[in-house]
């Protein structure tokens, strides 16, 4: 996909808006997604993305970009190209089919008599 401009708006990129950067193209640093954990016990939350030449530098850039205001105690960086994402166009099939299925929620069920501690 060397012909794809990674900076073009999504609707101008073929292949459903999936941006693939050419790994052989060293003129542009690859894209990384950054996850920051704000304190112990919480999970890492997506903070944003950045460009960096390799994992070690991505971690350092993440520290500079996303933890400047004392936001984090831990950082993960993941190559954006390694993330497989759900297709925004198949929202119906993916996410809407779970609507209305109240039996998948615990509140659907009535509490049985004689079963304590539920």
């Amino acid at each position: 996909m060397a012909e794809t401009d990674p900076h073009a708006p999504a609707d101008q990129i073929p292949d459903g808006g999936v941006v693939t950067e050419d790994p052989a193209d060293h003129s542009v640093w690859p894209l990384w997604e950054v996850f920051v954990r704000s304190s112990r016990g919480l999970s890492h939350v997506h903070a944003g993305s950045l460009h960096a030449p390799d994992p070690a530098m991505a971690l350092r850039n993440a520290r500079d970009l996303y933890t400047r205001r004392n936001e984090g105690t831990s950082i993960w960086v993941v190559p954006a190209a390694e993330i497989t994402a759900s297709d925004p166009d198949s929202k119906g099939g993916y996410f809407e089919s779970s609507k209305g299925k109240s039996y998948r929620h615990a509140t659907y069920y009535t509490q049985s008599e004689g079963v304590p501690h539920l």
Binding site: W29, H51, L65, R68
Partner: protein, 281 residues
């Protein structure tokens, strides 16, 4: 001296706190007053940080990548913070503020070393300057945390955590540029060669460091030399580049007499404060 800061209970709307750390305002509000000699030492340390912060700030919007703009900008602001601490403390001896000392001293009154006054050059040269200065300050602050002067020790303790990262940033880039393309190797080597003559001045036992070192207030600059050189040589060799063989440049006394750059830096840094004395924003 007060280390309370008073920030811990003031969480922002995003529930991220500023975090508790010593600030220049704490130094200013404390009853600590530096002696004349200690103040002259603090000024020497602070001037290095102030000039380098001014130099690095020039990279913002000019670095190879946006991410690097921010990295160098962060480092510049850290250094400006260190300068504020040292200048605030120095000013306590003479009834002056950090601004009086930063903006209303003339060229020959500054004590900065020539290394930090060197022009940015290309990215390789800036990284070379960062490497030398951060390795030097890391060794310095590691020892200054044990200073008999508790204010200097507290400032060194705060600065050390930040310099730890400056050192890592410079070393990571040295390794990548040294192990990169022919052009990156050439430029990084040229960068090292261009700043190396100014390394020796950092280890000169200029006044008032020998007296204060005897009182265990200051770190004797010459005592840092071996440790800094060993660590620099080791990382440069690891990067595949060569440790420059050049001797120290003439006039290593921090007097500014042999620096062509200092006047230009100060002109740019001081012009606004001097044209509009007392201006606030």
């Amino acid at each position: 001296m007060s280390h309370s800061g008073g920030f811990t209970s003031q969480d922002s709307a995003t529930k991220i706190s500023v975090g508790d750390a010593i600030t220049p305002e704490d130094v200013s509000a404390s009853s600590a007053v530096a002696s004349d000699e200690t103040a002259r030492y603090a000024l020497l340390l602070g001037d290095d940080c102030l000039i380098l912060a001014q130099r690095l700030g020039h990279w913002i919007s000019r670095a190879p990548e946006l991410e690097e703009d921010i990295a160098l900008g962060n480092i510049a602001l850290d250094l400006l913070g260190h300068a504020r601490f040292f200048l605030t403390y120095a000013g306590s001896a003479w009834g002056k503020t950090e601004d009086d000392l930063a903006y209303f001293r003339s060229e020959e009154e500054f004590r900065s070393c020539r290394l930090v006054e060197q022009e940015n050059g290309d990215f390789g040269r800036t990284i070379a300057r960062q490497l030398l200065f951060s390795f030097y300050t890391h060794e310095l602050y590691q020892r200054l945390v044990r200073s008999a002067d508790t204010t200097l020790a507290a400032i060194a303790d705060k600065a050390l955590k930040e310099v730890d990262y400056h050192q890592d940033h410079a070393a990571q880039w040295l390794l990548r540029l040294g192990g990169g393309t022919d052009e990156s190797k050439r430029r990084m080597q040229e960068g090292l060669e261009s700043v190396w003559p100014y390394l020796e001045e950092l280890f000169a036992d200029v006044e008032p460091t020998p007296t204060l070192a005897e009182q265990e207030v200051a770190v004797l600059p010459s005592s840092l030399r071996d440790a800094v050189l060993t660590r620099l040589s080791s990382i440069i060799e690891e990067s595949g580049l060569e440790v420059p063989a050049s001797k120290g440049a003439f006039g290593a006394d921090r007097s500014g007499r042999f620096s062509e750059n200092r006047g230009f830096i100060l002109a740019e840094m001081q012009v606004l404060a001097r044209q509009h004395p007392g201006a606030t924003w």
